[in-house]
Symmetry: C2
Subunit: 112 residues, 2 copies
């Protein structure tokens, strides 16, 4: 059923790279943040090696986003895209109380 699968990234067979981003949102600027998040989502999808993304943020303002990339180099290149660098600066300065990034190689995957 399409509606069941929409939040899930449709990924190829491993191996591929996962960028696990977890963050706590500040209580400021929900509109500006939502706009930038949507713009960065659109921009990420245009990058070489982009495979998919999954994301959830809960009522405590803690969120997790995992983006998937063909290679670690593809993920690194996205980190350095100019508009994304500007978004990262705003994130550190305004939008996140704290965040963690873990870069990983996916070796196995399954689901239902």
């Amino acid at each position: 059923v399409v509606s069941e699968n929409r939040p899930f990234a449709d990924l190829p067979e491993p191996p591929y790279t996962a960028v696990i981003f977890s963050s706590v949102r500040t209580i400021t600027d929900d509109a500006g943040y939502a706009e930038m998040a949507a713009a960065m989502d659109d921009l990420a999808r245009l990058q070489p090696g982009f495979l998919g993304v999954e994301s959830a943020r809960d009522h405590t303002r803690f969120g997790m986003t995992v983006s998937y990339w063909r290679t670690a180099d593809d993920a690194r290149a996205w980190k350095g895209v100019a508009d994304h660098l500007a978004a990262q600066r705003l994130g550190r300065a305004e939008w996140y109380e704290g965040y963690r990034v873990r870069i990983a190689v996916v070796e196995r995957a399954y689901g239902a």
Copy 2:
């Protein structure tokens, strides 16, 4: 500040294993699910090689949980713990419309 860090797993230097679990909750049995999720969280923390866990579920009932383990073998052993197997069966039968599991090796980490 302690309250900023509470949702984040306090992890050692990489490498370590990440189990990325994403799911869509059915609309049934929120109380039973919450009770089982808390029990599995407590049980996971007792397992050999458990390093930490981060989790968020949004208003659409899409959620992401990433648990971290010293080795892939530690993660695999947790998958086979009897009470956890029972929880997995209930998850497939009752609680999840769909889910994905990706097992990855974290190679690099940073944050603020």
